[in-house]
């Protein structure tokens, strides 16, 4: 007689090494243009997937399919154990409650203050007490170092500050998966590093799984090769990653809708593929 109980999907997904996102033979075309030809990848819990590629290669499209903003023409997409390619808009709300997404340029609501933007989901879509939401908003703004801007409008912020507020908005409801769509594009190197540090802190201190879409090689390698840790005083530092940590960051390169590379930072750097060499130069 069997004595062990089958694990629930939730239990399976909470174990280390569990896949939180599975993209399986996904195809998407807009009219005659095929954007994703046959894309497959898996994101493991707590790990980072960095999707590189030139403009128009399908990177952002892949992210939008994960969160259900676009529907694939064929293929299977699993997010936290649910088939998002089969869900309607109403059912996708449940999936999105565990996904935080950063859009290019931040996509902050320009008629709302920073406070209202960061706490948007908590104010609008939950029944939490206002004091609790305000405390959470203060907490996340403190995490990204923008507490003093809480009552400003997005138009009063710099580009880098808007991206960081967008990150604060996305993490306010504690998602376990973060999706970054060109989060550092258009920023100066110093500001971009600040945003990269937020991504690293979330991944390593909050155990958030991440997909980072970018064509900025500098930021891609920075995130893959650094990690966040607390020192003896509890202060957070971003330091070069250990070998084990580096293995948790994997690169995917998309070209014309197909994956032409999948592997770690070292394998990417030492690739002999002419397109990859040209991309990295």
């Amino acid at each position: 007689m069997a004595t062990e109980t089958a694990l629930t999907a939730k239990q399976i997904l909470s174990e280390p090494g569990a896949p939180v996102i599975v993209f399986d033979h996904v195809v998407l075309a807009f009219d005659d243009k095929v954007v994703l030809k046959d894309v497959s990848f898996t994101l493991i819990k707590g790990h980072t997937k960095i999707i590189l590629g030139a403009s128009g290669s399908g990177k952002s499209t892949a992210l939008k399919i994960v969160v259900g903003l676009l529907k694939a023409d064929s293929g299977v997409v699993w997010v936290n154990g649910q088939r998002v390619d089969q869900l309607g808009e109403r059912d996708l709300m449940g999936v999105r409650s565990d996904l935080g997404m950063i859009f290019q340029e931040g996509a902050l609501f320009d008629s709302l203050t920073v406070r209202e933007n960061v706490g948007y989901k908590l104010y609008e879509e939950t029944d939490l007490p206002l004091e609790q939401i305000d405390r959470r908003v203060q907490e996340v703004l403190g995490f990204i170092g923008l507490s003093e801007h809480i009552d400003k409008m997005p138009s009063e912020l710099s580009g880098g500050q808007r991206r960081r507020v967008a990150i604060a908005r996305a993490i306010s409801f504690r998602p376990s998966i973060m999706l970054y769509d060109e989060a550092t594009t258009g920023l100066d190197p110093i500001t971009a590093t600040t945003v990269d540090d937020e991504m690293i802190k979330l991944r390593d201190l909050e155990n958030v799984s991440s997909i980072i879409v970018t064509h900025q090689l500098r930021d891609a390698f920075y995130v893959a090769e650094h990690m966040a840790e607390r020192d003896a005083n509890g202060k957070v530092r971003v330091v070069p990653a250990t070998a084990e940590k580096e293995r948790e960051a994997e690169f995917i390169m998309l070209r014309d809708g197909i994956i032409v590379f999948e592997g770690g930072a070292d394998a990417l750097r030492s690739s002999k593929d002419p397109y990859i060499r040209q991309f990295l130069s």
Partner: protein, 257 residues
């Protein structure tokens, strides 16, 4: 190879299909949770109270011009004293509803299309969806409800101020006795005319808001697209109002007269 006409017809059919889809979702969102009460109240204020000034001005000058012009014509028949009847009937049956709707198309329709279009091109609509909010319920339903209920309210205001403007001209330019004017205003009003004049704005308000929301949410092409969406919203809204005026009038004539 499809001919140009076939392509245009296909495109038009697709637009109508998408528009009807938006209307269906808006109706669903009106009668099922969640409701965004704060946004509904805000839109009632922006569309209703915010349009009051332009509606007052349009109604006043329309009534005055109507009295002026009709006074001259009625003079030929020695019927100047009944100018009030003509002003009230014209304002309440046609000019009040249609001109108010056209003012709303320009002010409110363009604003809705521009706002929603800007949100589309800056990914704010996608951000709303990613944060678990249905843009239909949050953005479209409040605007449609405000359009449906504020258009009739503003039309009543426009009708009243138009009749009042007509009195000003009748009293001080046409030298018509005030009591004669107001007596002819009420004498010339039939309940059928009032029903028609008060029913049309509900239809107009619905059309203005839904067309503006549809055009705004389908904006593409960056800031140039937003400008184009604004123009399309005003033109399409205006044509829809004028066309709907004809059809609604025919329906009411068939039902009531």
């Amino acid at each position: 190879m499809l001919s140009l006409l076939e392509r245009r017809l296909k495109k038009a059919a697709l637009e109508v299909q998408e528009y009807l889809g938006l209307v269906r979702l808006a109706i669903q969102g009106t009668f099922s949770r969640p409701f965004y009460r704060h946004d509904i109240v805000e839109q009632f204020d922006l569309i209703g109270w915010g349009s009051l000034t332009v509606v007052l001005l349009a109604g006043l000058f329309t009534g005055m011009a109507l009295a002026s012009q009709s006074g001259l014509t009625l003079d030929q028949f020695g019927a100047r004293p009944v100018v009030g009847r003509l002003v009230s009937a014209s304002m309440i049956k046609e000019l009040g509803p249609v001109l108010t709707a056209l003012m709303l198309t320009g002010r409110v329709g363009s604003g809705i299309a521009a706002e929603l279009g800007s949100m589309v091109v800056t990914d704010q609509i996608n951000a709303l969806r990613a944060l678990g909010t249905d843009p239909m319920r949050k953005l479209v339903v409040p605007r449609v409800l405000a359009g449906i209920f504020m258009a009739p309210a503003l039309t009543v205001v426009s009708d009243f101020i138009g009749v009042l403007g007509g009195w000003l001209v009748a009293r001080y330019q046409l030298q018509v006795n005030s009591s004669l004017y107001w007596a002819s205003v009420t004498k010339g009003l039939y309940m059928n005319d009032v029903w028609m004049g008060l029913s049309k704005p509900f239809v107009f308000g619905f059309l203005i808001a839904t067309i503006a929301c549809h055009v705004g949410l389908r904006t593409g092409g960056g800031t140039a697209g937003v400008g184009k969406a604004t123009t399309v919203s005003v033109v399409a809204g205006s044509v829809a109002v004028i066309a709907a005026d004809f059809f609604v009038t025919q329906i009411f004539i068939g039902l009531l007269y």
